[in-house]
């Protein structure tokens, strides 16, 4: 429709992103019907992990994209335009540790430093620096909740929507760092060369 290539995140934001695209007249039926296919050239959609969206958009391999603010904060050096807060996919970045006496507090007092597991080392490090505390980041790729239960770390920084997974693993939220939602981003060159198409798309998303 708009002639723009859109990077669409698979995962938690996938369905609502397709709903938004339906709402502005993009036919997403083939994307919904096809779990394995990644590129849908006819409708200008490429699907990928949310954390890859800024990479494709920055390089211009996709003109625009949708991803979480958490991804954009973690990859703050990416040169992309952040155009719109889409409002959905709301999650909170939290600092959590095992229930009962807070092991992070004891580590800070006795050892001077806390060990923190996270998939978001930059966001976590910025939070500790901003609050004047020393912390060592342990980057993990899989289930972060496992790390404090096995004694790998004293606490975790992770994204949570409902807190269910944390609770089920005996973890409690100690601090809320930031609330994040889905964002629409654009390549900086495309933002200038296809200004009319981008502005029209923004209008339609806002009106939908």
């Amino acid at each position: 429709m708009s002639g723009l290539t859109i990077a669409v995140p698979r995962g938690a934001l996938f369905k609502e992103t397709l709903d938004v695209l339906d709402g502005i007249g993009v036919d997403t039926s083939e994307v919904r019907a096809n779990d394995r296919k990644l590129l849908f050239r006819d409708v200008g959609i490429v699907t990928m992990r949310p954390s890859d969206v800024p990479t494709y958009v920055e390089a211009g391999a996709a003109d625009i994209g949708i991803t979480g603010k958490d991804v954009l904060m973690e990859q703050s050096e990416r040169e992309v335009y952040e155009l719109l807060d889409l409002g959905y996919g709301a999650c909170t970045m939290v600092l959590a540790s095992v229930a009962g006496d807070d092991p992070m507090e004891e580590a800070r007092r006795r050892l001077g430093i806390m060990r923190i597991a996270t998939k978001y080392p930059k966001i976590a490090a910025r939070h500790f620096a901003a609050t004047g505390r020393q912390a060592e980041m342990v980057e993990v790729k899989g289930s972060v909740e496992l790390a404090p239960l096995t004694g790998l770390v004293d606490g975790i920084v992770d994204l949570t929507a409902t807190g269910t997974t944390l609770r089920e693993n005996g973890l409690v939220v100690r601090e809320e760092i930031v609330t994040v939602t889905a964002r629409l981003i654009a390549n900086p060159v495309v933002h200038k060369l296809k200004a009319a198409a981008i502005d029209e798309l923004l209008e339609r998303v806002r009106a939908a």
Binding site: E58, A59, G60, A61, D63, S76, E77, E79, V80, Y81, E82, L83, L84, D85, R183, N187, P188, V189, V190, H191, K192, L193, K194, A195, A196
Partner: protein, 324 residues
């Protein structure tokens, strides 16, 4: 085979690439010289104080070393500041305008794992002693001459003014830390953050709307025609330049009221070169009317630099029919 590594962000150029790159840079220098610009060379190493005087905030020199007397030397992070130094020192009494050009490497720090170059080749001009709007129009014309001559077909030039948004902030009475926060969102290209920071300023609705809407405007001359009040006044400078341009140059422009550049010394019109074959700008420039004064010879000036390697990538992309 033994592999001897070179620092990340640096590169060897072999004959096939060099031949193509040389064709581009030779053409650029020919165009510059035909337009009356004399080629200069300056040392890759400068005293740290020299670059600090130039305010290269946003692209600070990343590599420092000490000379035999313990003085701090840096690898230049751009060519404009060294040429400002050169003009003030070597051309202290020369008649203006001075027209200088260069083909030179500059050096900047890189973020890890991003494939960014530490060393890159720039071809550019500096037009010193030529005020706006005539000087700006001349620089834009030479810029189009070069891009046409190297054979780039579909390029466009983003054209804005660093003073424009500052004037809007002045008009709305936004200063101090709040002003810095608003500008930070603009510089980091975050319009969601810009709207948030403007909302907390407690301005009346029309002033707030102006601060959020104007930097998102970009397009043909109709963008300027649609402005009124403080915004129209702030865009006067862009009008003045546009009125002087030949149609072949004017039609390449994209007026961009939110355009910002990373270097700190720009004072007025700024430009950035785009091509649909590449996701990043090919180069840019603008007016730096205060910079020469910091070196003791106050003169209005304008210039631009093209990244030769990116120009090469864009040309190859256009040949292959790649488009964003």
């Amino acid at each position: 085979m033994t592999i001897h590594p070179i620092p990340s962000g640096t590169r060897d150029v072999l004959p096939d690439e060099m031949r193509e790159l040389r064709a581009i840079t030779s053409t650029a220098l020919e165009v510059f010289q035909r337009a009356g610009y004399g080629e200069v060379q300056t040392p890759a190493l400068e005293y740290e104080d020299t670059l600090a005087r130039g305010d290269v905030r946003g692209a600070p020199p990343a590599y420092r070393l000490f000379d035999e007397q313990g003085r701090v030397l840096v690898l230049r992070s751009d060519m404009t500041v060294p040429i400002a130094r050169l003009v003030a020192t070597r051309f202290a009494d020369a008649d203006t305008p001075l027209k200088l050009c260069y083909l030179a490497h500059a050096y900047r720090g890189v973020r890890p794992q991003r494939g960014q170059p530490r060393e890159f080749l720039q071809a550019g001009i500096e037009l010193i002693g030529a005020p706006a709007p005539q000087g700006t129009a001349e620089a834009l014309t030479v810029l189009c001459d070069v891009l046409d001559a190297v054979g780039l077909a579909d390029y466009r030039i983003g054209f804005g003014d660093v003073a424009l948004y500052q004037a809007l902030l002045d008009g709305a009475g936004v200063d101090g830390a709040a002003r810095e926060r608003v500008l930070h969102e603009l510089v980091t290209r975050d319009f969601v953050g810009l709207e948030r920071e403007v909302a907390v300023l407690g301005l009346d609705a029309s002033a707030a709307e102006l601060l959020v809407r104007v930097p998102q405007l970009r397009g043909g001359p109709e963008v300027l025609a649609g402005l009124d009040g403080a915004a129209a006044e702030a865009a006067e400078g862009l009008h003045g330049v546009h009125a002087l341009l030949e149609p072949r140059v004017a039609e390449r422009l994209i007026f961009d009221l939110g355009l910002v550049r990373e270097l700190g010394y720009y004072t007025g019109a700024i430009f950035q070169v785009y091509d649909p074959a590449l996701g990043v700008p090919l180069g840019g420039g603008g007016r730096y009317d205060e910079l020469l004064g910091r070196f003791g010879r106050p003169l209005p000036a304008v210039g631009f630099a093209l990244n030769a390697e990116r120009l090469h990538i864009a040309l190859a992309g256009e040949e292959r029919g790649e488009r964003l």
